[in-house]
């Protein structure tokens, strides 16, 4: 306690206009999607992918619906089903938080499958651009988790440990949201950026998507080692967590995709 860094107590509510409060968390989604869209547009304009920037403009709406519906449904199913069965109206209380990355991922995949089928595009041409841009949103989302003081880390005596206001035990903990922002956000973005720009990965459909799945899964599995498991679930057998369990199939599928692309000319 003595050596803990003070938690930078930023108000989760950015501005309040009458009954409407704009939270950092909501802002992270909005800015993440906008920046990701602009970035994917820029990549498309470079011409390694046959997709046109105009197509991405059309896809943004689909992506938003996929992220929000998938993220919410995923959270309810994976993390807190009994609670929402008891109080179904809480499903719509988005402002209480509770979005699942893995659910959002499945939602976006569904949106991409439908959009690609409707516009007669190859799925991976779309998925590769979305994958390259996704770490931007993940980075902002993890920063928002930190501002909210939620999804904090396990107790530690490291010099940069901090006490989170919402922690009932009031112990010094890892700011694991920042570790995750660094890995799932910055590190993953750089890896995918170098693959796309230096190695022109977008010319090989599936490569960027496969790298994203592998990279995210690895970052998440490592990140979870420092993160306190969700209260309502706790540790799974063997000291693993739900986030790690959900990342294993991602890792396997990502690896299979990269393997398949590598074998082609």
């Amino acid at each position: 306690m003595l050596f803990a860094l003070p938690f930078p107590n930023i108000d989760p509510v950015l501005v309040e206009i009458g009954p409407f409060a704009i939270r950092w968390y909501a802002l992270a989604y909005v800015v993440g999607i906008l920046l990701g869209w602009r970035y994917a547009r820029g990549l498309a304009a470079r011409g390694d992918s046959p997709l046109t920037p105009l197509l991405l403009d059309d896809f943004v709406t689909w992506a938003v619906i996929g992220i929000v519906l998938g993220g919410r449904i995923g959270y309810i199913l994976f993390y807190d089903l009994p609670h929402y069965l008891a109080e179904p109206l809480q499903i719509f209380a988005l402002w209480h938080g509770g979005m699942s990355f893995h659910g959002g991922l499945l939602g976006v995949i569904a949106a991409m499958v439908l959009f690609a089928r409707r516009r007669k595009l190859r799925f991976f041409h779309l998925a590769d651009l979305v994958a390259a841009a996704a770490p931007i949103g993940l980075f902002l989302g993890r920063l928002a988790n930190f501002v909210n003081g939620e999804l904090y880390g396990r107790p530690t005596d490291l010099p940069w440990a901090m006490v989170f206001p919402r922690d009932p035990a009031q112990l010094p903990r890892h700011p694991s949201q920042l570790y995750e922002a660094g890995m799932e956000g910055i590190l993953l973005f750089i890896v995918l950026f170098i693959a796309a720009r230096r190695f022109r990965a977008l010319r090989r459909p599936g490569l960027e998507s496969g790298l994203f799945l592998c990279g995210y899964a690895l970052c998440r599995i490592v990140g979870e080692l420092f993160r306190e498991p969700d209260v309502q679930i706790g540790f799974l057998p063997g000291g693993t967590t739900m986030g790690q369990l959900l990342s294993l199939p991602m890792l396997a599928i990502g690896f299979a995709i990269v393997w398949r692309v590598r074998r082609k000319p």
């Binding site: 304009a45 470079r46 011409g47 390694d48 992918s49 046959p50 997709l51 046109t52 105009l54 197509l55 516009r119 007669k120 595009l121 190859r122 041409h125 022109r200 010319r203 459909p205 000319p265």
Partner: protein, 349 residues
């Protein structure tokens, strides 16, 4: 298309640009226009021989250029990628040609881009929305039935003087009307101004000049194949084709392919003014014969089944015959100054 009702009449050129290229309702944005099931058919879709001979032409010009490595192989409006895929198959006789190649495709339709990605997946093409986006460097450029879709302005010498043709609307129907000529009128040649009708495409002239400038600066050659007269002629040539049948251009905007004859003489002048050399235009049939179509057809026939043999003979006839594509279609070559005469174009200066 609601635009006319709201903002008043538009020029024929604006009408062409909107109906063909509009991002949502435009003709090329929504469908695959090519082939038997589509609205029209192009030479590379008739027979692999067409693309193969163009591929060999490119290999030979690349040798004349001094085998630059890397060089840019550019195709404007590659359709389904058939021409380029046939050309690159034939070019495999010179592995160094493919190794030095950087493939650039100019295409705005997302649907056709996907088809090209599938047809040319091993060659790693780079797509661009316009020729201006293609990076500098020595280049070989192919444009087959690309210039005919570029918008034209139409003028007519009427009792009250020169007027420009516009598209106006009343209720749900569109009709042609006349207004004061716009600035494109200045691009008409003296010959065209003898009237009574004239047509000019600032977009096509601008592109030819851009290609000419690029060739003069970076080296290389371009092959433009399209339909149109060898000399600038008076008259109007806007036509709409749907399911292989000519239709009224104003009947169903965005549902039919619109095109106009290409004024080869004007393209050649624009490219030469920008510093390139122009050869031709030659009738397409003559160029294909000079490049060895007859021999290619014989060698295909030698190992063809009877049914394939009939198809090859029919394709040869369509590509060469004066009444089919042989003379209506023409080929124009543009080269950097200092490059020897490109194959097939001897005595065509």
């Amino acid at each position: 298309m609601r635009r006319i009702a709201l903002a008043g009449p538009i020029t024929v050129a604006e009408f062409m640009a909107e109906t063909l290229g509009h991002p949502v309702h435009g003709y090329y944005q929504r469908r695959d226009p090519l082939g038997r099931a589509g609205d029209f058919i192009t030479a590379p879709e008739i027979s692999q021989m067409f693309g193969e001979l163009i591929g060999l032409w490119c290999v030979e010009v690349w040798h004349l250029m001094g085998r630059p490595d890397p060089y840019r192989l550019v195709e404007l409006g590659p359709g389904r990628g058939t021409l380029m895929s046939d050309a690159l198959r034939a070019a495999r006789i010179r592995p160094a040609f493919a190794a030095a190649m950087r493939l650039h495709l100019v295409e705005t339709s997302p649907y056709l881009r996907e088809r090209q990605a599938a047809a040319l997946s091993g060659h790693h093409p780079q797509w661009h929305a316009s020729f201006a986006e293609v990076p500098d460097g020595p280049m070989l450029l192919v444009a087959n039935e690309f210039f005919d879709a570029l918008p034209v302005h139409q003028f007519e010498l009427r009792p009250e003087g020169w007027r420009e043709r516009v598209v106006a609307s009343e209720g749900d129907s569109l009709f042609f009307a006349w207004t004061e000529p716009g600035p494109s009128f200045a691009l008409l040649s003296d010959r065209q101004r003898r009237g009574p009708q004239a047509e000019v495409s600032p977009a096509a002239l601008g592109l030819a000049s851009e290609i000419g400038r690029r060739l003069a600066r970076c080296g290389g050659a371009a092959l433009v194949i399209d339909y149109g007269p060898g000399r600038s002629l008076p008259g109007e040539s806007l036509q709409a084709v749907r399911r292989h049948v000519p239709v009224d251009p104003l009947a169903e905007p965005g549902e039919a392919d619109l095109s106009a004859h290409v004024d080869f003489a004007a393209l050649a002048r624009a490219a030469e003014a920008a510093g390139a050399l122009a050869y031709g235009p030659l009738p397409q049939g003559e160029l294909l014969l000079r490049l060895g179509l007859a021999a290619r057809a014989e060698s295909l026939l030698a190992r063809a089944t009877p049914e394939q043999a009939r198809e090859i003979a029919a394709a040869r006839r369509r590509l060469l015959d004066a009444r089919e594509m042989g003379t209506l279609f023409k080929a124009l070559a543009l080269t950097a100054p200092g490059l020897p005469i490109p194959p097939g174009f001897a005595e065509a200066r």
